[in-house]
């Protein structure tokens, strides 16, 4: 019996819910670490997520998957943080640093340094790539977590993965050329 699955969530008391939430912490931490890269910032995000979730436990719909619900709370916090950061950047620069070519030149990405490459992706694409590629959510679950249509999930996934591929490919090619 997996705590948090639909068949149990309906009959859970407050204490059971809390235990089920604790069991999800490792997954929340992994996702947040991949999103933000910095371990302390990631745990801060998870802590905010836990505090907000517990204050809104009454909003959790029994019969839905607890993990998806927690990811949705975390995602909303993450996006509002990312927007604030973006606004701050926009204030000081004409263009948000969103162009991968420029970023790839300034940040040295090694083929295996996935953590760094991810940070170059726009926040929305990064979230989709991670929810599906790392946390193994289905497309529908990812759409529910992000509150967008499944088509949007697909296009973000497609763009995100292609960009990641170019980033890591570009580096591989540069290294090849250097070797020659």
């Amino acid at each position: 019996m997996a705590v948090g699955d639909s068949e149990t969530a309906g009959t859970m008391g407050q204490d059971d819910m809390r235990r089920a939430v604790v069991a999800e912490i490792p997954h929340l931490r992994r996702y947040a670490r991949a999103l933000l890269r910095d371990a302390t910032a990631a745990d801060d995000l998870v802590q905010d997520c836990l505090e907000r979730s517990l204050s809104r436990l009454h909003l959790f719909r029994p019969g839905t998957r607890l993990r998806s619900w927690l990811f949705a709370v975390l995602h909303n916090l993450f996006i509002s943080q990312a927007r604030t950061a973006q606004r701050r950047r926009s204030d000081s620069m004409a263009e948000p640093p969103d162009t991968p070519v420029e970023a790839a030149q300034t940040v040295r990405i090694e083929a295996r340094d996935m953590a760094r490459a991810l940070q170059i992706l726009p926040a929305e694409q990064r979230a989709v790539v991670l929810l599906i590629g790392l946390e193994d959510l289905s497309y529908q679950e990812a759409a529910d977590v992000l509150g967008v249509p499944i088509g949007t999930v697909m296009s973000r996934l497609s763009r995100g993965r292609e960009r990641l591929r170019q980033l890591t490919d570009g580096v591989a090619q540069t290294q090849l050329r250097r070797v020659k």
């Binding site: 019996m1 069991a23 912490i25 490792p26 992994r30 996935m114 497309y139 497609s158 292609e162």
Partner: protein, 251 residues
């Protein structure tokens, strides 16, 4: 079967195992004829692997105390009191941890702590006829006896909500001091042990995780006791049980 063009959406679903067998076969046929798509599919597959290789280690990390506290829904004031108490004890007791901003940073326990509990798990859960010294039928006597031996009142956790019944318990030596081992098992005879010892000074810690082959153990300190919950079960199941024990511990 009329072949249809395979778009990127289907290629991604192929990578993510999100296709039924028929469509999967169609994509396979398409890939045999479109090597440029094979390159992309292979790259996306690799991305999945690299993501796991990069971040799966986070799952094995001990959960920071502040996150456990947040999940317990403990009011902030109480957290501060607890942290302040821990800080005072640490200042008196010396090394072990320190306070950084609002975080209690906890050093790993001395090595060997989980090892002894895991060894005891391996040895006694394999016993068919004599897994315990005192059986669950004499639960009251068992708890009183081991509380007396350890010198602290043991509050025996109830793991029946998770499907585990008490089998019994035994007294064990732990570096010249008494330790208690309680054993539980479920309907399919899967066994779990809770190892408890009295720690010389109170310094609450977060959960630490240790894996030894197929045996998973969570250990932590809460109040006067050091706990180690051990089982040959998936990590998440062991964590769930450890959390039940933690909830029943000193508040």
């Amino acid at each position: 079967m009329t072949p249809r063009p395979i778009d990127d959406t289907l290629l991604h679903a192929f990578v993510d195992g999100d296709l039924d067998d028929t469509t999967r076969a169609e994509v396979q046929v398409w890939l045999d004829e479109h090597p440029e798509d094979v390159t992309r599919v292979r790259a996306w597959n690799e991305q999945r692997l690299v993501l796991h290789a990069t971040f799966d280690k986070v799952l094995e990390e001990p959960i920071p105390t502040r996150l456990l506290q947040a999940a317990r829904g403990r009011p902030r004031a109480a957290i501060w009191q607890r942290l302040a108490a821990a800080a005072a004890l640490l200042a008196i007791g010396g090394a072990g941890g320190w306070i950084a901003r609002d975080r209690l940073v906890v050093l790993p326990e001395a090595p060997g702590r989980a090892e002894r509990a895991i060894d005891a798990y391996v040895i006694y859960t394999a016993e068919m006829r004599h897994p315990v010294e005192v059986p669950a039928a004499e639960e009251e006597h068992l708890v009183r006896w081991l509380s007396k031996k350890l010198g602290k009142t043991i509050n025996l956790p109830d793991l029946t909500p998770a499907g585990f019944q008490l089998v019994g318990g035994r007294l064990l030596p732990d570096q010249g001091k008494p330790a208690a081992q309680f054993m539980y098992e479920d309907d399919t005879k899967r066994r779990v042990t809770l190892y408890m010892r009295v720690v010389p000074e109170a310094k609450d810690t977060g959960f630490s995780f240790t894996r030894d082959r197929d045996v998973a153990a969570f250990h932590w300190i809460d109040g006067p006791f050091g706990y180690c919950l051990t089982a040959a079960l998936p990590r998440e199941k062991v964590l769930q049980l450890a959390q039940m024990v933690y909830e029943s511990g000193p508040k």
